[in-house]
Symmetry: none
């Protein structure tokens, strides 16, 4: 009875694209549903047919972005057999955001203007990443590559370190190119879990 019509799926997609554009342009708070509707070439009612609230629309985008980043990180890690080097893969997040400053701003900063529900969702995202890192730290420990440590906290702290560098870049523009921070940040993260300095750069 509730079969999705192709037209509806397409429209829904157009709405999400438009929402991403407008949220990026204006930030969560200053993004008006009116503008999203216009950008999606539909009506306000159409928006609300597909998404019950502005926040729900935003959270949907946040979910998507999280899934995208997670799968990228997992791919990067899967492509690397050496546990010690898998750590580097976590930095793929950095790389992704490096080329999408508006996106980074939206999901790392603006998400905190979107109310308590968004806070929780954002924390989920943070924890997904932290757990991903933690999982591979455990593998590295099991493989004897690094000494035992609290992987949960280490994952969180590593994510926080990366996050801070990205946020600083987003808000202050320093360093000019986010990639410039890559080598030192990588060294920092490796040290933080007791890995030796890598002899070769990426």
């Amino acid at each position: 009875m509730t079969r999705e019509q192709p037209r509806a799926i397409a429209r829904r997609e157009r709405i999400l694209e438009a929402a991403l554009a407008v949220f990026s342009r204006r930030g969560y708070r200053d993004a008006a549903m009116d503008e999203i509707a216009v950008e999606a070439d539909t009506s306000k009612g159409g928006l609300y047919f597909h998404f019950p609230t502005k926040q729900a629309l935003f959270l949907h985008l946040l979910d998507r972005m999280a899934d995208l980043l997670m799968s990228r990180a997992e791919q990067a890690i899967a492509a690397e057999a050496d546990p010690a080097r898998q750590i580097d893969a976590a930095l793929v997040v950095l790389r992704t955001f490096a080329t999408h400053r508006a996106l980074a701003r939206l999901f790392l900063i603006d998400a905190l203007s979107a109310g308590p529900e968004a806070h929780l969702k954002l924390m989920e995202v943070h924890q997904r990443f932290a757990r991903l890192v933690a999982r591979h730290l455990q593998a590295a420990i099991a493989a004897g590559a690094i000494a035992p440590l609290d992987t949960r906290l280490a994952g969180l702290a590593m994510f926080g370190a990366i996050n801070e560098v990205v946020i600083t870049w987003v808000l202050t523009g320093q360093p000019e190119c986010l990639d410039d921070a890559y080598p030192e940040l990588r060294a920092f993260l490796r040290r933080s879990v007791g890995l030796p300095e890598p002899s070769e750069a990426t």
Copy 2:
């Protein structure tokens, strides 16, 4: 000419207290100037006599909090002669927020709902801390306690790591007591700059 009258100073102070209370209670966005006025036992006009905008009022509080935290951190560091241990002092921030969850939420999370100006101010605060840490890392390097490294980035990353742990605690309540994360976080931070595991706990 316009010498500060004691009554005005007192009122200004009362407003700041009230604002802190209301902002903590409601968050930046949901804090109404009306409520602050009532809490400060004055009128809306009175508020605007002392502070030109809601944001200015908030930024003022943010400044104060930053100064307080900085001076606490500096005191803690000054009390410690051993460069290797001064690192620990940075964690005083953690300790301070550990007992003031509402404050932590306000200045670490809500500040990002307060508009671009607040973003910048918040970044300044982050960087003040990062620089403080960096300064002492340099001293540690000079003293030969740790190997050379990019102190600017390390300071930032360390701050980010601490920040993430605090934020997670604020928003998810884990760990139940923030102090529980202290030992492992300390170990993480020491490793991250190449310091050996401390033999004794705090």
Copy 3:
């Protein structure tokens, strides 16, 4: 040509039932066509195929209810040969509503939220009842049971008296059981047309 198909008739009936349920539950204004559609196990489009507007759907129910009440009243009156006692029969309306509070609320109160057209329809219903009463008052006058009077106005006023008692009960819950008001209301109505107090209760 467009002979009514059994399926369509059944659906129409299901819609009316669903509408009655939802209108009763929510009141006219807060009843959403969506909810009626769901309750009728059909789609919004289906609703509008059978009824052109929300109001038309409501008016249809109002008509039905009026017919039902009228025929009940007429039956009750027909069963009573004594003109003087036929008056009592008008109170069958009271009895009917006494067991259907939600219905009473819907048709006596909510109908007034349904726009001018509903006002007129409701007035028609009132007048049908008033005329029914008037008709039997005329018979009673002709039979010499009561003295001549303006039967039109008396019918209206009697209906109004009954109506007020029902409405008060619906909205305030007093008296707890509507039937409790029956004897005194009956006495009031008999007096109002110059009938003597009945020696026996109903």
Copy 4:
């Protein structure tokens, strides 16, 4: 601290006048706060400064009207020494509405579109009148002018009878002049409490 400024009082009054005008013109539901604001020569914010919601504004008017009618009725009754004739005084309500059809429509019909709170308030008004009548019926009984009866119910029923006549007039325009119904309605009400037909008309 919260002293009312004269200007504010005047504005509040202007708002109430404007609201009465717009509500009368459009009915409760279709009256827009925007229009009231314009009519009151103020801003929407101004409206909401003085009245928290549209409904509250309406209820305020309803209260006022009730007070006005009550005092008129009480004056009319006080001016009449004979208990048997005080009954007539209740009909002053009829007279008042007779010259203000829009008002009658607003408070007798539209009030039922204004939500449950308005229902309750309206019932209060009905009951105030019913009790006023009941009070004087009791006096009449005590004076031996009429036989004992349930004054509460009689008051309610009498009010309902009047109400129905007024409502019918408002919605159907019959009788052309509400006053035309006066003599017969008066006779109806006198009979209903066992008073003899008056020899002279009012």
